[in-house]
Amino acid sequence: MGRFHRHDDGTEPDHDRVDVDHDHAHGVGHADVGDMSGYETGTERVAVLEAIFDENDRVAAANRADFAEHGVRVVNLMSSPGAGKTTLLRETLVRLQGRTRVGVVEGDIETSIDADRLEGLGASVALVNTGNGFGGECHLDAPMVRSALGRVPLDDIDLLFIENVGNLVCPAEFDVGEHARAMVYSPTEGEEKPLKYPVMFRTADVVVVNKVDLLPHLDVDMGLFRRNLAAVNPTAQVLLVSSKTGEGLDAWLDWVAGV
């Protein structure tokens, strides 16, 4: 028993090292034992049982604790590229100006274009570019949001929007410390999107159907969209909104006020 396998809690289990036997018992028992069988001689199998998102989730909890300490409510805003997150956010800031103190964390792979569009509306905007040399992360994670919090005056705001990277896949996987998730969907994306991107649609507390001013010009079947959404997320609230005409924005603001 020469080596030690240190556990996170600092304790050293009394089975630090398990010599390989050829008992291929599968399935993991409890956290300290696990499946200790090895595949070949010359190797030692060590139980780990750690969630890959543990580190992200720890930072998300730290973010959430900071938000709570400052009395800030937080919305994670997600959608595909072009569904209208930034335009919805802009119209939201216009309407909340002088009523609610708002901050924005703006996630984009490159450029400050979206952040620039939100300037001058009384909100403090912190940009996070996710470019990392590999072509850019496709989502915001909790450490990225944490790195932006130094530039968000939590003392001076009541509400924080985290505008995620436009993407219907990855952002759904990462808790960033938010209190609610809002998804923006544009009817031009087609009725089947909830079935194609079920994880994203399942994670949303509210689905904002944006650009409803376009509906008369489209063949999209909104009844079918709602049925598809209900199949993957029976409890999601649906709001019909046009950031262009202002239709439905009051209901959206009511939802935001209740976060």
């Binding site: 595949y39 139980a47 780990v48 993407n167 996987e173």
Partner: protein, 112 residues
């Protein structure tokens, strides 16, 4: 999609447990509801491990099917499609009981 950052997280977990020893196999559990493409994961694993004690190690991915349990009738349903309704009574009052796993279960280390 985010397999590269997943691999970086997996590498951190594995190396913390391996303590400088050479890693030969990493066993993972990946639930069906996690949007992970196994082939991409394996490809990224090779990239992020160059020059580390994980270089050349094998990712062994155990796939966990998704399942829901009905709050009304108690029946369990395996999810073949992502339809959140009970396969027995049709209720949509269901909880996911499996398929969201994403964890490193164990690692195999070379004997020194």
């Amino acid at each position: 999609m985010h397999e590269l950052s997943l691999c970086q997280s997996i590498g951190q977990i594995v190396r913390r447990h391996a303590e400088e020893r050479r890693v030969t196999v990493v066993h993972l559990k990946v639930g069906q509801l996690r949007q992970v493409v196994p082939d991409t994961l394996v490809y990224c694993w090779g990239i992020v491990n160059e020059g580390t004690t994980c270089e050349g190690s094998v990712l062994d991915v155990e796939h966990v099917p998704a399942a829901i349990e009905c709050r009304d009738c108690g029946a369990s349903t395996l999810l073949e499609q992502m339809r959140m309704s009970c396969g027995s009574c049709g209720s949509s009052a269901v909880d996911v009981t499996a398929g969201e796993e994403l964890l490193v279960t164990s690692i195999e280390l070379q004997e020194a």
